[in-house]
């Protein structure tokens, strides 16, 4: 066994130690992975000494798929031969991360047989990461997972594994069926996930409300967030109870004065005055008073496009592109898939190599992007209209006509739909 004096220091302290876990695997001498984990610890200790990583990439995949495995080959395999291959299988979890103990145990069984015994719940993109597999065993492990009903996730220039919040399953704020949205959308594009052929990665994330518990706006190319269009629901008795419990001054300072658009006012009788036209659905007052305030009934989703981390252009957050879309009937879910398809097609055809869709939007400009994807400009897309006069507006009147026609059409539709 390799000595690990530096790593040993990570076994002190109250938080569960991954080092202790790694050692348990190393010490399970009856198991096939013990030697691999001994050398893995050796290499990791070496990294701690040298303060450098010693893995390099390569190419490993399973039959029929081009992605989903992250290959790792050791650069110090001569010193640590048993962990010279230490690939990760990215496996998509059940939407919303629900598990029975039975499912978890089955996974452990497979991974004890073919892998390292090391599993991460979950990667930042939402995969179960089965970390540490030899090239030889990769196919075997996958076959068994796949037979259990599990499938590989994304890697490389491809559609990536997605995430959805607990939402409908246990959250009163949820404004749409996250599980259905997550599965319907992702399962419509599995080819893009398994056979990487996009210009670069493409991520979807699904949050049930603007609290965004899966960080969709920052961390996905296509963020779907629940919201509502009508008035929030107010239980004035619960409001009064809150004021009694917390005091007037406290209520004013931490609810009224914290509303970002001054949509709230406390009446002199301690009931709440909500100006729903000014409310931006930020969730704050609903969060503070979960018994008193709830989303309205006319629920649906907003879609924001273009979030990503820092490469090349710097961090980007998603931009509001679809302020509201109903998402209840099957037709409405189909419409979401169709919109997603339009985006992926646009991305495939227009993005440069290694360019995310947010970068592409920035490069061509929002007006051209909207035209390309066939979405009409909407003031909710921007913090405010342009402040710069540097634009050629000779077709302004024609563009305005389009807007008025669209509004007339929508008004008709609304009437027709009533």
């Amino acid at each position: 066994k390799h000595a690990t004096p530096l790593l040993d220091e990570l076994e002190t302290g109250p938080w569960p130690s991954f080092v202790t876990g790694l050692k348990r695997l190393r010490d399970a001498e009856d198991r096939p992975f013990a030697p691999m984990m001994n050398d893995l610890l050796g290499q990791l200790e070496h990294s701690y000494e040298e303060r450098k990583g010693f893995w390099k990439g390569g190419t490993v995949s399973v039959f029929g798929y081009g992605g989903g495995v992250i290959p790792r080959f050791s650069e110090v395999a001569d010193q640590f031969p048993a962990s010279k291959e230490f690939h990760t299988l990215r496996i998509q979890p059940p939407a919303g991360y629900h598990y029975t103990t039975e499912l978890l145990r089955q996974m452990c069984d497979v991974w004890e047989k073919h892998g390292s015994g090391l599993i991460a719940f979950h990667g930042q993109s939402g995969d179960i990461m089965f970390q540490g597999c030899s090239t030889e065993n990769t196919q075997k492990a996958f076959d068994e997972f796949n037979e259990m009903g599990l499938d590989l996730g994304g890697a490389g220039p491809a559609l990536r594994t997605s995430m959805s919040c607990v939402g409908h399953a246990r959250c009163e704020k949820s404004c749409y069926d996250e599980v259905k949205a997550h599965r319907t959308v992702i399962n419509s594009f599995l080819d893009e996930m398994h056979r990487p052929a996009l210009p670069y990665k493409f991520k979807f994330k699904f949050s049930g409300c603007p609290n965004d518990c899966v960080n969709a706006i920052h961390r996905s190319d296509f963020a779907v967030l629940g919201t509502w269009r009508d008035a929030m629901k107010v239980n004035q008795d619960e409001v009064k109870a809150y004021v009694v419990a917390h005091g007037r001054k406290y209520t004013i300072d931490s609810v009224i004065a914290m509303c970002p658009t001054r949509a709230l006012s406390l009446n002199d009788d301690d009931t709440l005055d909500v100006d729903n036209k000014s409310c931006v659905r930020c969730m704050h007052c609903l969060n503070v008073m979960p018994k008193a305030l709830h989303p309205g009934d006319d629920r649906g989703v907003s879609i924001l496009l273009g979030g990503k981390r820092s490469l090349k252009v710097g961090d980007l957050m998603g931009t509001m592109i679809i302020p509201f879309m109903k998402l209840e009937t099957d037709e409405e879910f189909d419409a979401l898939v169709e919109f997603a398809r339009k985006l992926i097609d646009f991305f495939a055809e227009n993005a440069l190599e290694h360019e995310r869709i947010g970068e592409c939007m920035d490069r061509i400009g929002l007006p051209a992007f909207l035209e390309a994807i066939g979405v009409a400009p909407d003031p909710n897309m921007v913090n405010h209209p342009r402040t710069s006069s540097y634009v050629r507006t000779d077709d302004f009147t024609a563009e305005a006509e389009k807007y008025f026609e669209r509004k007339a059409r929508e008004a008709d539709l609304t009437v027709a739909g009533d």
Partner: protein, 359 residues
């Protein structure tokens, strides 16, 4: 013209000392004022720490004034006020008097001489004013005419204080925008690239200077009909008109190009929200001299949507922030188009990168 025998050297006296021209009560209490109120529109009462009071009566002027108007104002000041006046940042005139009883007669005198009393507090003040056809060498429209037409339309809102907060309006007669930012701004907006008068370019333009002025590098030196001239990449050109002042043959003005745009939500004060730039509402309005009725109608709609819907102390832009731009376009009835999406440097930061939405 005879050359002067002995040219006179200027006295470089710079900014004149105002104290000799300042109302005695202002001089006496300089730096020692305590509070003020507005007893009625057009009138301010300032109270000093020592209890002294000064009453100010404010009136509108046409800014570009004939000496007869100026002398008329002097006459009123001498007869009904105390011989001291000041002009404000917005070309209104203020008369300072030391007792309340001088206020009403002064108001009467001003009103009957045709000078509207108002412009204080939450009224619509005089429009910031530029040169236009009267004096500038590059104007697309006439500032004074636009201002006169609009002030006629808003006359009641000048003499009353019925707005949610101060309304500061500006105009500019070309995109250079000497009039600056305003709650409402009425500015020339060119809609076509300049037409080049090639014959003149070679004669009067320093070509590298013109090329350097273009914000999008759309201008290239070129040979046209064998003479050195310029050419414009019309795909790139953002029709700003910046090439026109250094090179008048870059003809930016023309009936099909010189249009008017209306902007809202510019703000200079730091009260509540930070200062802000104005934002586009409508472009491509006709440059319809002498009374610009289409422009006046747009301004009227915006002004009354604000008056009817904003809360006290909300400036135009702050009101719109609260109710949201979707509702602003709804309430005013204007169209939101692709041209409202910013495309200039830094435009990414104008996008709504949040789930905050207004319905």
């Amino acid at each position: 013209m005879n050359a002067p025998a002995q040219p006179r050297r200027p006295i470089e006296s710079g900014v004149p000392d105002p104290f000799p021209f300042m109302h005695p009560l202002m001089k006496k209490n300089y730096g020692n004022w305590d509070w003020h109120d507005r007893p009625r529109p057009g009138v301010l009462r300032h109270v000093a720490r020592n209890g002294d009071e000064i009453w100010t009566v404010k009136a509108g002027t046409q800014r570009q004034m004939d000496v007869f108007s100026v002398r008329k104002l002097c006459e009123i000041a001498d007869t009904f006020a105390e011989g001291y006046v000041r002009f404000t940042t917005r070309s209104n005139i203020e008369f300072m008097v030391s007792t309340q009883d001088k206020v009403e007669p002064l108001i009467d005198a001003l009103t009957s001489a045709g000078f509207p009393v108002g412009g204080t507090g939450n009224s619509v003040s005089m429009i910031s004013h530029t040169q236009g056809w009267l004096h500038c060498d590059i104007p697309g429209t006439d500032a004074s005419g636009v201002v006169k037409s609009l002030m006629d339309m808003m006359y009641d809102e000048f003499i009353k204080e019925e707005m949610p907060n101060r309304v500061k309006i500006t105009t500019s007669c070309c995109q250079i925008n000497c009039g600056g930012q305003g709650d409402i701004s009425i500015n020339v907006q060119y809609t076509k690239p300049p037409k080049i008068n090639h014959d003149l370019v070679s004669k009067i333009c320093e070509r590298p200077a013109v090329v350097a002025r273009c914000p999008v590098a759309a201008i290239r030196p070129a040979m046209v009909n064998g003479k050195p001239s310029l050419e414009v990449d019309e795909q790139k050109c953002v029709c700003c008109g910046a090439c026109y002042p250094p090179c008048p043959p870059m003809q930016i003005n023309g009936a099909d190009s010189t249009k008017i745009a209306v902007w809202v939500g510019g703000k200079h004060s730091n009260a509540r929200s930070k200062p802000s730039f104005h934002k586009l509402v409508v472009a491509n309005l006709p440059n319809n001299a002498p009374r610009w009725p289409e422009v006046a109608e747009v301004v009227r709609k915006i002004l009354y949507a604000y008056k009817d819907n904003a809360k006290d102390w909300e400036r135009m832009g702050e009101w719109i922030e609260r109710i949201g731009w979707p509702r602003f376009f709804e309430l005013t009835g204007f169209a939101f188009t692709k041209h409202h999406l910013d495309t200039w440097t830094g435009s990414r930061k104008t996008m709504n990168m949040s789930a905050h939405v207004h319905f």
